[in-house]
């Protein structure tokens, strides 16, 4: 575990989505911790995989989605909480 706080991870995720979302070239997208990544269309299923890989590289452990509610992990803050909840390495 590299000791990332929830607020720091939220900031990193928002930056990642701003840089990698498919609408970035055509629209000014407002993303905050309450943004639903799927409903807003800033991420698709392939983007989700890439985002999870990024989060895992940042927190240094696996993000476990098996029993999580999609309504939680589709929102920036919920996803970050799930990621840090599974961080048992520390």
């Amino acid at each position: 575990m590299n000791g990332l706080s929830e607020s720091h991870l939220i900031k990193l995720v928002i930056e990642w989505v701003k840089e990698n979302n498919p609408k970035r070239r055509t629209e000014a997208i407002e993303i905050n911790q309450n943004t639903d990544l799927f409903k807003s269309g800033v991420i698709d299923s392939f983007g989700l995989v890439d985002l999870i890989v990024y989060i895992e590289s940042e927190i240094g452990c696996v993000v476990e989605l098996a029993d999580t509610d999609p309504e939680e992990f589709s929102v920036v803050r919920g996803l970050c909480r799930i990621a840090l909840k599974g961080d048992h390495s520390g």
Partner: protein, 531 residues
Amino acid sequence: MSEKSVTRSIFCGFADSVARFGEHPALAVNGERLSYRQLSHKVVALASVIDSVEDSYPLVGLLAHRSVNAYAGVLGILGAGKGYVPLNPKFPPERTRSMLLLSGCRTLVVGSECVSQLVKLLPRLEQSLTVILPDVSDLASISSEFSNHRFVFAGDISQAPPHSFRTDIEGDAIAYLMFTSGSTGVPKGVPIYHRNVRSYVQYVCDHYQVTERDRFSQEFDLTFDLSVHDMFVCWERGACLFCVPEQSAMAPAKFIRDHEITMWFSVPSVIGLLSRLRLLAPKSFPSLRYSLFCGEPLPAASAERWLQAASNSLLENLYGPTETTIAISHYRWDEKRSPEECVNGIVPIGWPFEGQIACIVGENGVELPPGRTGELCLHGSQVTTGYWNDGDKTREQFIHLIEKGEALWYRTGDLVRKDESGCICYLGRTDHQCKIRGYRVELQEIEAVLRKVCNTDQAISIPWPAREGSADGTVAIIAGKQTLDEKIILSFCSELLPPYMVPSEIYFVEHLPLNANGKIDRPGLLKLIGG
């Protein structure tokens, strides 16, 4: 079939199940669960209103998405004896306008979840519509702003007179009109008739021994014809349809478990996604009885990975262009035999359904023997007769084959080979059509849009990143126009193309590389973008 002949509507299966399984759950969507009787009440009301509109046109548009009214809309339109034209709120308004215009619909059913898209669509329409909003109370702002259209709101529907369903219809009646990507830059309409769908549903229900105890996933948007399988195979036998919410569609593992789904149907890409998210742990999906995949090539490794998670299920790879009604051939995975039968690591598309016929032809149009590679042509009760108002395209794709009499065959454009047992393997395309996440895409349609905005002939789109016969998206290459603004080009594309067809990136080059024959060197372009 003569015009006076009568056939059973695909609505019949639902109507029979209402009579047999009235209190049995028919639909679960957005946390709401409706019995056959409850869903039927909504369908009756909507069908009655559609009838009262007195529009003699045989098709009605439907702009609704993963809601009770999306499904009641499909059934209500069919119950009124019309065919439905599904529209998609995720598509740009300009594309929806184009589909609506091409279909000729004068009546449109809209769910409340799509009102914002309706408001963007209406100013673009020249024709006057009757817009039915089954779950919207009087919206005075819409009525007054778009006074050239007639609006029917929820209150009007509740006062509609009782309606008796039309279960017997004319033999040549259309069940749905589905639009696919068109190489000329305009969506291509494929009319599918009740007799086509009845043939499919009857075969598939028996083949999978569907019962009222089954629980079907409904993952596909209504604009994807595989959704017709979910709805009508399910309702034919009194089973329950579980609409996968937009968010769960990204990672449906929990959804399958929570709802104890027995019949799963999706594109193979879902397997790759779940695998990468580590959501395919052994025996994760014990409830599944059948796992069906269709829409793009199924890699053998994906089939094996899925079966570890769904170990109680039988896995089948289905194949079928929209023109042949949902799917027309199937291959059942066998852990001992199948790995050897795969070609290039791709699961075979198997054998045609009973009563449907496949013929593999060479470039001269003559049937080829087993072992030879050629174009797959299809004939049978599931195959439609042509494109919507497009005689030229129809004559191009629906043909007579040498030594095959008067029968009309659909040329799929798919390159295949069959073995001595008749098992067919997919090998590629004869043209520039490709599959993006299961969606059928004519690259020329993207290129037509690019040529228009860039004012050049030198525009190419390439599936990228590509993997095992399918692709995640596309990129575009524009030659000789280095000063153009990528943002403007992509904005233009977003206004005309569905999201999955909009290139993720534009590469500007001085010249397009040519091969020895003087044709554009597509493999060379792949190297250019780092492939």
